[in-house]
Symmetry: C2
Subunit: 212 residues, 2 copies
């Protein structure tokens, strides 16, 4: 089995909640590094990555589909065009993803699997029969997707993975990447000078080193 | 196999980072409800819970050991007295813990297993031969414990579980409990009037209802 893995991706001005510590150019490079980490993990799990981009960009050897609708519209439209083969949808801001963690998702014995994100989002969905499902991202989408599965009569496994649960949105999230990351996005942060700092018992990140 | 599961627990004035939304009495009741959820999960995983308390308190049917040292001193002392049987150490603020998630830890094929907490902490440790290990909690204890394992020549599996990764310390963490919890601590929060709220795309909790 080698399912397609759709990876929604916004190349321009992404991750605005990191604006306090990264410039737009840096956020774009960092988002791209996280995308590469996700693509590497997807390939390691024997899935075929397809970037669902909001605009054209240089993607090297990975197929890109340009979507002119919002995320839900784009994915629901893609699913309607699907051939009925199993489909994985994985977010681009999961740089702790690994081949083994994704394999746990795509080897589910149920009709589908979900990995919840922090704050009730949906980080990964795997569908054996995509046409029977529809997407409703944003807000507490994990609860919405669970309900959609139930109403469609689809058995659904919730995959218990912190690697796929940890989406990188805010400064505090960088701690997880600096501790557990092994790929390009961790290296990108370290090259900028970010490192772990323990203050009054809590762990955070220090800002980058001053330019010399 | 039925290993003892040590659960460090502070009954008086716990969870001070929740002081912004819960009184001391409420924090004590909430911490107790989370402890009960952890005990239930530990029992469901066929482990024998032993509370490691900082003081005497009413514990119903669960054994309590009173430790007069700090957490590291208490656990290191207990390990030195141990009979050499496998040992689980699990924190009391993991109300998303389930029998299956704990079973993944205690069935490791390696010499030990760790579940990292958020921010580099250590939420769960399982040791097949406790005398070969020593504890160094606080700060980035996950990294410290990984190094201690390596230096002791102990193979160590990192268990990829968001249920055991999610410790409840701050208001934002309550979102996870209201979404994924199924036990007494979720019910305690709901009885106080806490519920999920979606504002500008982010999910949080609303404060309790006003007293009538």
């Amino acid at each position: 089995m080698c399912p397609h893995a759709l990876i929604p991706y916004k190349p321009t001005n992404p991750k605005t909640r990191l604006s306090c510590i990264l410039s737009q150019e840096e956020r774009e490079a960092f988002a791209r590094a996280m995308l590469v980490d996700v693509i590497d993990a997807v390939k390691d799990a024997n899935c075929s990555p397809v970037i669902v981009g909001t605009e054209l960009f240089d993607s090297e050897d990975v197929q890109v589909t340009i979507a002119d609708a919002d995320l839900n519209g784009a994915l629901n439209s893609l699913v309607q065009q699907s051939t009925g083969d199993p489909l994985l949808i994985i977010m681009a801001d999961l740089p702790l993803a690994t081949g083994p963690s994704i394999r746990r998702v795509v080897t589910t014995e149920m009709a589908m699997a979900i990995v919840p994100g922090r704050g009730g989002g949906t980080n990964v969905i795997f569908l054996k029969d995509p046409a029977r499902f529809h997407f409703d991202y944003y807000g507490t989408s994990f609860l919405k997707h669970s309900k959609i599965a139930e109403e469609a009569g689809l058995s659904c496994e919730v995959i218990d993975s912190f690697r796929l649960h940890t989406d990188i949105d805010e400064k505090e999230d960088l701690v997880e990447l600096l501790i557990h990351g092994t790929g390009k996005s961790r290296k990108y942060l370290e090259d900028l000078g970010f490192e772990l700092a323990v203050e009054r018992g809590r762990v955070g990140v220090t800002g980058r080193k001053k330019a010399e």
